[in-house]
Symmetry: C2
Subunit: 393 residues, 2 copies
Amino acid sequence: MPLAFEQVMSPLEGETEIAHHTNAGNNGGNDDQIGYKSRVTVVGSGSWGSVAAKLVASNTLKISSFHDDVKMWVFEETLQSGEKLTDAINRTNENVKYLPGIKLGKNVIADPDIDNAVKDANMLVFVTPHQFIDDICKSLVGKVRSDAEAISLIKGMEVKIEGPCLLSSCISEQLGINCSVLMGANLANEIAEEKFSEATVGYRDNREMAEQWVQLFSTPYFMVTPVQDVEGVELCGTLKNVVAIAAGFVDGLDMGNNTKAAIIRLGLREMRDFSKLLFSSVEDSTFYESCGVADVITTCFGGRNRKVAEAFAKNGGKRSFDELEAEMLQGQKLQGVSTAREVYEVLRHRGWLESFPLFATVHEICIGHLPPSAIVKYSKRKSTLPLSEDSAH
Amino acid sequence: MPLAFEQVMSPLEGETEIAHHTNAGNNGGNDDQIGYKSRVTVVGSGSWGSVAAKLVASNTLKISSFHDDVKMWVFEETLQSGEKLTDAINRTNENVKYLPGIKLGKNVIADPDIDNAVKDANMLVFVTPHQFIDDICKSLVGKVRSDAEAISLIKGMEVKIEGPCLLSSCISEQLGINCSVLMGANLANEIAEEKFSEATVGYRDNREMAEQWVQLFSTPYFMVTPVQDVEGVELCGTLKNVVAIAAGFVDGLDMGNNTKAAIIRLGLREMRDFSKLLFSSVEDSTFYESCGVADVITTCFGGRNRKVAEAFAKNGGKRSFDELEAEMLQGQKLQGVSTAREVYEVLRHRGWLESFPLFATVHEICIGHLPPSAIVKYSKRKSTLPLSEDSAH
C-alpha cells in the first residue's frame, strides 16, 4: 500500500520553520519526499488527547515529511470565564481545562468543527472516550480523505457475545480507511511531564505506515515499538481492566505480594489465551510489549479500577460497585466491571467459563454471587483451553 | 528413567500413620506402589527451607508413595536459652530461630548431621544460601544414594565470564544425580501464613519425576507448574535481582508508574534474551511463568534489592551500595549488585554490551560511572541481539 502524502500546493504558515528544522538535520531521511507532506489531525482533546497532540506536534515541526500544523478537534465548551475552550487553547497553547500547565506547542490548532478538522488530514489520530467513537465515526462518513490512515489510542471496547467490537475495526469499516492502534502503560499526566514511557503500535499489514506512526509519536521520553498484531494490542487495553479489578480485590483482602503477583500473572495469561481464541492471528509476544505486561502492571498498581475494587473487598462486598463508584469517582464508571460482565457473557455463550477462572470469578464477585476472597480460591483452578493447543499450559 | 522408590524393609516409626492416611483415601492412586516409598530430605533450614519442609511434610503424610518423615538438615546452633536449635525444632515442631510461630509438622525431623540426613533419601531438596552450596556438595560426594533425585530452591548464582554457574548443574555434576529447580514469586513468610502463591518447577527431561516434585510441593495455597526448561527457570531467580535494582532507581528518582512499568518490561526482556543467548534451549514461555513475570513483579515492588537501590538513587549515588547495605541490611549483601557486575563482565567479554543496555547501565550506576538518572536515558536504547534472531525485537 503506498504512503499517503499530500502535495503542498501553496506556501503555508510555518513553512519557514519547517525549512529551519529540516536544515537542522532532523528530517528522518525523507529528503526525496519534500513537497509531499502528511497532515495530522487529532480527534479528541481530553488529557490523553492533548498529550497525544503535544507528542505529535513536537515531531511534525522536526520531520520534513509532516506538515507543521496539527489540528485538534475539541468538543466545544464555554469556560467559567466565558471564553470558548478552543479560543483558550489557541490563545495559550494549553488545554486549560483538561491538561492545564502543559504547553502543547504553537502548531497545535484547536478546531471545534470536526468536519473542518478532519477534511485535509491524511493521518487521523482518534483519542476520544470509547463510548463516543461510534457516533463520531457515523458523523464522519464521507468526510475524510479516501487515502487517509487512522490510528486509535482509545482503550476500552464493548465485548459482544459474537466477539469484541474492536474500535479499530469500527473506525476502519465506517470510514473505509485502514486503522492501527497505539496502546501502552501511558498515564497521560506522566507523559505530559515528559517522564519516560513506552507504547506499542499494533498494525495490520502495512509496515511502512506503522513506521510512520512510530515516527510521528516517538520522542526521547516516549519509545514506540511496532507490532503486527492489531487485535492483540487493542484487546490488551480493554482486558487489563478486568485484571486490575482482581488485583484490587487482593489488595483489599491484604493477601500479600506473592498472591498479587500470581493473580496478575494468571490474569495476563487469560488475556493472552482469550485474545488468541478470538483471533487466531494474535501473537504470544504481544503480551511482552508495553501494551501487555507493562500496562497490566501500571493498571494493577495504580488506576481507579484497582482502587475501587480494593474498597469493595475491604467492605466484604457489602457495598456495591455502583455505590462505591458514585462515592469515589464523581460519576465516572469503572470499565473493568462492565468489561468483566461482557467477557463473562462471551465465556458462557461459548462454553469457555471453565477455561477462564479468573475472568469468570471477577464478574461473579462484582455481582455478589461470590465473596471477594473467591478471587484466590477460584482463579487458581487449572484450566484446559477449548480450542487452541499451543496457548494451553 | 524409572522412578526411584525405596523398598521399606522393616517397620519404621510412623508406619501406622502412613496406613491411617492411606486408608483415608488420599493416596494419590499409588496403591500398586505401596511398599515402595520415596524418602525426602530438605538440606537447609532458613525461613525458606523451613517453609519448604512444611509444604513437603503436609504432602508426605497424605500421599502413600512418600514416607511420612521428612528429614531437615539444620546447621547446628546453640540458642540463647542454651538449647540446641535441632532439639528446639524437634521439641516444638517450629524453627524457633528462622520461622518462629509456624508449625512445620510433627513429621519434620531436624538433624544436625548432614551425612546422616541425606543417606537414605531418594528425593533431596536443596535450599541453603547460595554461597554455601558448593562446599555442601563437595562434602556430600559419595554420600547420597545413586538413585537420588535433587531439586534446588536456591536463588542466585555466580555468573562467570564463561557463563552462569547454574546451581542445579553444580549439584548434578558433583553428586552425579539429576537436579531440577523450583522458583517463583515466593516470599517465605507469606507462604508460611498459607497465603496463596505459585511456583515453577524447571526440569530437564524427566516429566514423570517433575510430576513427583509438583505433587510433593503442591498444596491448596501453593500452585506448582512444571516447565521443561531448567536453565530458563533457574536464571530467572538470579537475573530478576538486577531488574529490581533498576526498579529501585526509578522509585528513588520518583519517575512514576509508566517509567517503572517500562523498566520492569525492558528488564524482563533482557532476562529472556540473555538466557536464550546463553542456552538455546531456553523457552520464551518460561518468562510468563511464576518464576518469570510474577517473581519480577514481587521483587520490583518489595524486596531489599529494590529498597537499597531506591535509597542509593535518592542520595544521587553519593553514598555507595556498601555503605547503604551496612546501614540498612545488618551485614547482608545485595545479590543484585554482584549479579549486575558479573553479568556486565559476560556482556563485555562476549561483545554484547550494546544489546543489553539495561543490565549494563545498572552496573555502571552501581559503580558510580553513571548517575542514577541514566537508568532511563540508557536502558531504552534500542538494541539488536547478536546471535539469535527469534528473540530480537
